[in-house]
Amino acid sequence: MGLLGLAAGFCAVAAMAAAFLARRARVVVSSSLGALGCLLAGASALVTLITGTTSTFYTSHLLPGAGLSLTLDPLGAIFILATSLVGVAACVYCVSYAHGPMASRAAMTLFMVFVLTLLVVPAASNVVSFMFVWELMALSSLLLILTDQSRNDDSRSAALWYGVMTQLGAASILLGLLLASRGSASTFSAISAHAAQLSPNVRSFAFVLVLLGFSSKAGAVPLHVWLPKAHPAAPSPVSALMSGSMVAMGVYGIIRVGQGLLHGGTVWWWVAVVTLGVVSAFYGALHSTTSTDLKRLLAYSTIDIQGLVLIGVGAAGVLGDSGQPFIAHLAMMAALMLVVAHAGFKGALFLSAGAVERATGTRDLDRLGGLIHTMPVTAFVVAISACSIMAVPTLSGFSSEWLLLQGLLHGFNDSSTPAMIVMLLGVISLALTGGLTAVAFVKAFGIGFLGQPRSTGAAQAIEVPPTMKIAMLWLVLPSVVLGLVPGEFVGLVNRAASSALGKTSLEPLDHGTGLVLAQLRGAVQPAELFMGVVGVLLLVSAANRLLEQRRARRVDAWGGGRDVQTARMQYTATSFAEPLQRVFADVLRPDTDVEVTHIAESRYYEQSLMYDNRVNDVLEQRGYRPVINLVLRAGRLAQRLQNGSIHRYLAFGFVALLVILVVLA
């Protein structure tokens, strides 16, 4: 706790520094202080995870009404760990990245506040403290989205969507928490102790409310609409934090309230969570395959991965409820591991997207290409992280998805119907999203970094400065380490899962370097696999050396008989995804316009042809727009009430008086 306090202090000082220092010093000083703060927070989280202790801090002098109450337990610690991983990178990245609006006083201050709140949210342990930091987190990220509004109108609209969704979510969470804390003190421990006395209906209602709010933050479909708008609009370090850390806070909330405060409740809660997860995973994966904006693709992929996390959390809930604590534990561990892994690779990817944007001036994959030659480090980071997200073995994505698959597979041992349905749904969506994710990230890397540059911006790209490289490479670390020796972290994740589920004695995984299921048959030793693969690779290259000493000769690519090969002939991101878009046209509902201009002389010859293909979020178009229009119409109707006539105004009061008199009479 002390360490975390120190970390928070560092971040607060960083915010102060950002607010009061001059422009040049501001960025460097506040970023490095922020990075230090994140490192300290990470250390405190690690200590907590290693020792498994819980420490608390309370003062009544802050936060009128309830006092500031913080509790650092392993569950919170693992989320703090994820945040600190991304936080360090984002802060270091900022040193060179921040220029223009991002380097402004307000933006840097808000950025530091954002980091601070992200670190504190998982530790807040009464309703007021939690909502306070939660809302502060929302506010700072909301304003950060607006940082770079000079470029286009997107960020303004994104901020509005984000703001409204997050506030409605917060309202829902607040009501849920208040219902749960009814009749007890507002500290989480009191709520937890008191929860059994609440009627089941109240508990369920509270959970549903909380779930609505948190799943919106976690980007669960259909409450995700803000996410693909907000992530691209924010500056890259912010989007890295939003995607890697803030979105995970939604999951944290669901676990904390559902498991910690309300003790698991009933099966259908978790069936609902899994359903949200399944829908999100599929919808997110599908949209990420068709997105051509690099950050939008990453945003949808965030929805996808959070969906998988929710499946893990939900499966844990279902299994825990039906008497399979051991496997529930496994599923929870998988979900938590995936959270940390996601923080790593998605943070790295967002930072790389920022690097690409900085170097080329665009995020549109259709205008990128060939960056592997000019930006090798960035390409390396993207390659590793993309492989990790695709669950290529011996990377972190694989370790966590393997755990999740094991959890689901052994979940079939449970013969209750909801459990079976949940496991089946989970497996199916994992299977469906696996392939789609691969398409999305092959596209992102293959179109963006391989081939020839598709625009002058991409052709003239230069690699980013060293601090940004360091930041991105730092985030490759979790992907590699968690992938190669996941067993080393089993103990930590296990403690977090124990504190999440309230069961301390279960250890579903053996200690070691690999993942070995205890009591169940199943194991994977990524380090050994990796050595095998590397061994073969070394053998092959050695054989290559033996076979031929000369370097490969460069020749023109085969152009199907044409002499000239131009960059425009390459497949674009849009065309790459076109087959899948066609296959899933019923879900995606793409908008396609073809506009043909004929030459004046003859209708049979075309002068130009415009092909416009957009994939809009169909849920936004068909689900949200009508509601928004309804509200606007209600607003216009209401305006007729105040038409300026004093007769009418007087009549309002008169009628009110008469109604009261009649009621009283």
Partner: protein
């Protein structure tokens, strides 16, 4: 003597209500103001009679005050205002006169029903008449709502105030003097300010748009 007191009190209270209803009936703003003056005098009478009966000097003084303010000054001010408005007729009220009278009758019934529970706390000759006061309030409010002319609105406001004053006298023989003074002064001030506003508006915006002010709306 007691019967005389009751008779006079009833007469005065009745006059208050009748004049209120008459304001609804009349269209000419001048005669409406005359009704108002009559009502002020009736109200003062009621106060003085009550004060005399209860041997309450404060009420006696209040009665005198009411006579001056509501019987003379306020109508006088209003007459001046009405002169600003050449077409001083309530020609097209929002609710027409017959309907207004019917509604007034309903309001009177309502006030009887509502006040019955109140007067039962301390039944007396005076409190018996409280419904009349409440009815005056409601009729005044109704006038305020349905009459278009600015002067009529002010008259409506004063009717409400007179009704309340009548209730005050009948129920409690008047609230503490300072409050009573304050409230009378307030009414006077309100009327004066309203008159000032009307004058300003008429001078300011030439077009005489007092009846339909709809510039400010959503």
């Amino acid at each position: 003597m007691n019967t005389t007191y009751v008779a006079v009190l009833e007469l005065a209270a009745g006059a208050v209500l009748v004049s209120a209803v008459m304001t609804l009936w009349r269209r000419n703003v001048r005669s409406i103001i005359s009704m108002l003056s009559l009502q002020g005098i009736a109200l003062a009478t009621a106060a003085i009679v009550l004060g005399w009966h209860e041997h309450d000097v404060a009420l006696f003084v209040t009665g005198g005050l009411v006579l001056v303010v509501k019987g003379l000054v306020v109508p006088g001010v209003l007459r001046r205002v009405a002169r600003l408005d050449p077409r001083s007729r309530e020609s097209r009220p929002l609710v027409n006169v017959p309907a207004s009278l019917v509604i007034a009758a309903l309001l009177i019934v309502l006030s009887y029903v509502v006040t019955s529970r109140i007067t039962s706390l301390a039944p007396s000759d005076a409190t018996r008449l409280v419904p009349i006061g409440v009815a005056t309030v409601l009729v005044g409010y109704f006038m305020l709502v349905t009459r278009r002319r600015a002067v009529s609105k002010i008259v409506g406001l004063i009717l409400v105030d007179n009704g309340i004053a009548l209730v005050t006298f009948l129920l409690t023989s008047g609230v503490p003097l300072i409050v009573e003074l304050g409230s009378s002064l307030d009414v006077l001030l309100v009327v004066v300010v309203l008159q000032f506003l009307m004058v300003s508006m008429v001078h300011h915006s030439d077009t005489e748009q007092l009846t339909e002010m709809k510039a400010l709306h959503d």
